[in-house]
């Protein structure tokens, strides 16, 4: 799992430039007429890195540059195409549709993220403590939703929410609570939050569980000797020690929330009077480009969103590292 490796590297010292040093020492001197060993190794390194570099340039840097270039232009259906500097960006941050989408995902995140990560942490602490066959089953079951593709998951929940077929409705009906429309305007964010929580809790739990498994067991023994109970061990030892993994999961979740797209896009189909084309910023950008032919404005919105995510994550990581005492 690459995630865990990444998580490990944030906790320990960064492995900066280690391989280069290691390689340099054994080969010394020049070969007649040849390049220096150092240069040759550099060339070799470049050669080895080049497949990645090519893909990186072709599929990340080039599209980014193109999108940025697009976002600086304005092309209208009739008026033609011209360079408009930052007009699209100015429009983005004054566009009520974009801003209401941002507000919506922020509200969504404020409730959903702590809830989901709390559940994930709780799950991780429990399965870390209980080492029985049951814990394995529990772990697998919680992780399972992550194996279901997001689209399928959202579709499935769409059926469960259905006012005619959905179990939620028939249960509330038989209890005499009347009709609960989970796809209505008031409950939509909750319904979406449920899907996301269902899908991602297990994933985050596994990340946190793996971090817990990596902790030295002697610490627990020491804590036990000092008279700490299970709750105290969890609160005072385990949680602080896996704070870097928690920061990591929080970070991924934040990014995911800001880019909220798949679930609303799927549910839009059965509740389009609630999920409007500007429901989330990402959905808005998509509809602007592919339905309203506003490619430039869409690029500006995507770019702004990308910048917000990037800067936001950077600041968050920076602050979180200082606070949690990580290196």
């Amino acid at each position: 799992m690459s995630l865990l490796r990444q998580q490990g590297s944030t906790a320990t010292a960064p492995p900066r430039a280690v391989p280069a040093k290691g390689l340099r020492t054994p080969v010394a001197g020049r070969r007649p007429g040849g390049l220096s060993a150092r240069t040759r190794h550099k060339g070799m390194g470049l050669l080895l890195v080049s497949p990645f570099l090519l893909l990186f340039l072709a599929f990340l840097v080039a599209p980014l540059c193109y999108a940025f270039w697009l976002s600086l232009r304005t092309s209208t259906l009739v008026g033609g195409d011209h360079f408009s500097w930052f007009a699209n960006y100015k429009q983005t941050f004054t566009d009520p549709q974009f801003l209401s989408g941002v507000r919506r995902v922020v509200v969504f995140g404020v409730v959903q993220i702590p809830l989901m990560l709390g559940l994930a942490l709780l799950g991780a602490l429990i399965i870390d403590e209980v080492t029985s066959r049951l814990a394995k089953v529990f772990r697998m079951t919680l992780f399972m939703p992550y194996a279901v593709p997001a689209v399928i998951g959202a579709l499935m929940w769409g059926f469960l929410y259905s006012p005619t077929f959905g179990p939620v409705n028939s249960i509330s009906h038989s209890l005499g609570l009347g009709k609960v429309d989970l796809l209505s305007h008031d409950l939509m964010l909750t319904s979406l939050g449920n899907i996301v929580t269902w899908q991602w809790t297990g994933y985050n739990m596994i990340v946190l569980y793996a971090a817990l498994q990596g902790l030295p067991r002697e610490v627990y023994e020491a804590a036990k000797l000092d008279g700490a109970g299970q709750l105290q061990t969890a609160l005072r030892i385990k949680i602080p020690m896996i704070s870097s993994a928690m920061v990591l999961t929080l970070m991924f979740t934040l990014i995911g929330t800001l880019q909220f797209f798949t679930e609303p896009r799927v549910l839009e189909h059965s509740a389009s009077s609630v999920i409007t084309p500007d429901y989330t910023p990402n959905l808005y950008a998509y509809n602007l480009a592919f339905q309203y032919s506003e490619f430039n404005y869409s690029a500006a919105i995507s770019f702004s969103l990308g910048a917000v995510v990037f800067i936001g994550s950077y600041i968050f990581l920076f602050v979180a590292r200082k606070r949690s005492g990580l290196k």
């Binding site: 259906l77 008026g79 959202a154 189909h269 609630v274 084309p277 480009a289 339905q291 309203y292 032919s293």
Partner: protein, 452 residues
């Protein structure tokens, strides 16, 4: 936003497509585009010219086989590129990218001005398409052309009518309404007799935007005055009295809970059609096929009656959906592609029999539309009724209508505003004004000279 004829198919496609992000869609497109390109290798003089066609109904396979059998120099390669909006998204992307579009593409009428405006369509008038003018009903030809410029060859249409459950009407002693006022009375009567039943469903999704447009069309609303040759002028009037009348009428039915408000093309909606929850289904010429596939177990219980009128004894009609074949500007074989667009269905009885019997297409080709075979065809699903004795006069009674070159935006805005009214966040009486305001502002921003 589109009124696709096979929403159940569409639902599958849409959700599959939902997964692919914008970027991925581009990659996929490049992948499909690379293989086919403009069809054959144009360097080889021998052998037939291959024309790539995007169309969505599965029965199209046999129509293509029929075409390929009867043509030697031109052969059609059919690609299922998604239904309705999915196909348009791919097409628009390919046109924007400058490559990857097919030679011939199936487009609904309301999309034609949009694609034409972005220079995506070939003027088939230069390749002899004007000869077909007399073959098609007038309003359809006008939608597909602009003077002598021909941007599409009409295929099928969606004249609207009312399908109703004869058994339920009998059970609750309802009269088949001929006016909208009567329709409302019967709706109240039905709902009183059985609170779980509704006269119909007022769809709240994008698919239903075309439905609402069809109904305002019937009421006499003409929201756009547009001609590609008079750019950048456009007339936009989405809030005239007729449109407001229609929206307030349905808003009233919704408020009194006389109609359901389920999105079209959802399982709940299909279920409503087959379970007897809905007593009528107001739909178009392609509706019988749709209904008989999603509510197969109610076969024999349905009948078709003309669309209720606003004034008793009137004969105002509207259209919902309908498609055509266009040649894209990226084609390398304009002459052959035009031939394909004109002759895939054209006036070919063999092709049309496949279209009518298997795909439930509603022909706009005059000889077929007014021919004996179509008019007198009996439908078992409708208890042996000759339903086209209702639909054909409706098709002939439709009057001309202009679409805007930003129909997706207009439909989406309409859907959002109707959604707000449905959710009780705004008043029904303000829906049209809000839509008008947003659409005119969008149009002005896009460089149009808007007159209201």
């Amino acid at each position: 936003m589109s009124s696709s004829r096979k929403p159940q198919l569409r639902s599958v496609r849409r959700t599959a497509f939902a997964a692919t992000s914008a970027a991925l869609a581009g990659v996929l497109l490049a992948a499909c585009g690379g293989g086919g390109g403009g069809g054959s290798s144009s360097g080889a003089p021998s052998g037939p010219v291959h024309i790539k066609v995007w169309a969505w109904y599965p029965q199209f396979k046999q129509v293509v086989a029929q075409f390929n059998k009867t043509h030697k120099d031109v052969q059609v390669d059919w690609v299922q590129a998604g239904v309705g909006q999915d196909e348009y998204t791919k097409l628009k992307t390919a046109l924007k990218a400058g490559q990857g579009a097919p030679d011939v593409v199936m487009l609904e009428f309301q999309e034609l001005p949009t694609i034409q405006l972005t220079k995506g369509l070939l003027d088939m008038g230069k390749y002899g398409a004007n000869e077909d003018k007399g073959n098609y009903v007038d309003w359809a030809w006008k939608q597909a052309s602009d003077g002598d410029h021909v941007y599409a060859i009409p295929v099928d249409g969606g004249p609207m009518a009312m399908m109703y459950r004869a058994d339920l009407f009998k059970k609750y002693d309802l009269k088949v309404p001929t006016t909208w006022a009567q329709y409302k009375e019967e709706a109240a009567k039905l709902h009183k007799a059985d609170p779980s039943a509704y006269m119909t469903d007022f769809g709240s999704d994008e698919t239903a935007a075309g439905w609402r447009q069809g109904l305002t069309w019937q009421a006499g609303s003409r929201p756009y005055t547009y001609s590609a040759s008079k750019l950048p002028d456009i007339g936009v009037k989405l809030n005239d009295a007729s449109a407001k009348k229609v929206y307030e009428y349905w808003g009233d039915l919704v408020k009194n809970k006389l109609v359901d408000t389920q999105s079209y093309a959802t399982t709940d909606f299909y279920n409503g059609l087959s379970s007897g929850k809905y007593a009528t289904y107001i739909a178009a010429g392609w509706g019988p096929g749709y209904l008989s596939s999603v509510a197969a177990k109610t076969a024999g219980k349905w009948r078709v009656a003309p669309l209720p009128q606003w004034t008793a004894g009137g004969n105002a009609q509207g259209d919902w959906g309908g498609s055509s074949f266009s040649v894209t500007s990226q084609t390398k074989h304009p002459k052959e592609a035009t031939e394909v667009a004109r002759e895939l269905f054209g006036t070919s009885e063999a092709a049309w029999k496949i279209g009518i019997d298997q795909a439930y297409l509603f022909p706009l080709s005059n000889p077929i539309l007014n021919g004996a075979y179509f008019k007198s065809k009996k439908y078992d699903f409708f208890g042996g009724q000759q339903i086209n004795s209702v639909f054909v006069p409706a098709a002939n009674g439709i009057s001309a209508f202009d679409w805007s070159p930003f129909q997706d935006y207009a439909y989406n805005t309409d859907t959002s505003e109707v959604g707000k009214a449905l959710q009780g966040q705004s008043a029904w009486s303000s829906v049209n004004d809000d839509v008008q305001q947003q659409v005119t502002s969008y149009a002005s921003k896009q460089g149009f000279k808007v007159s209201q």
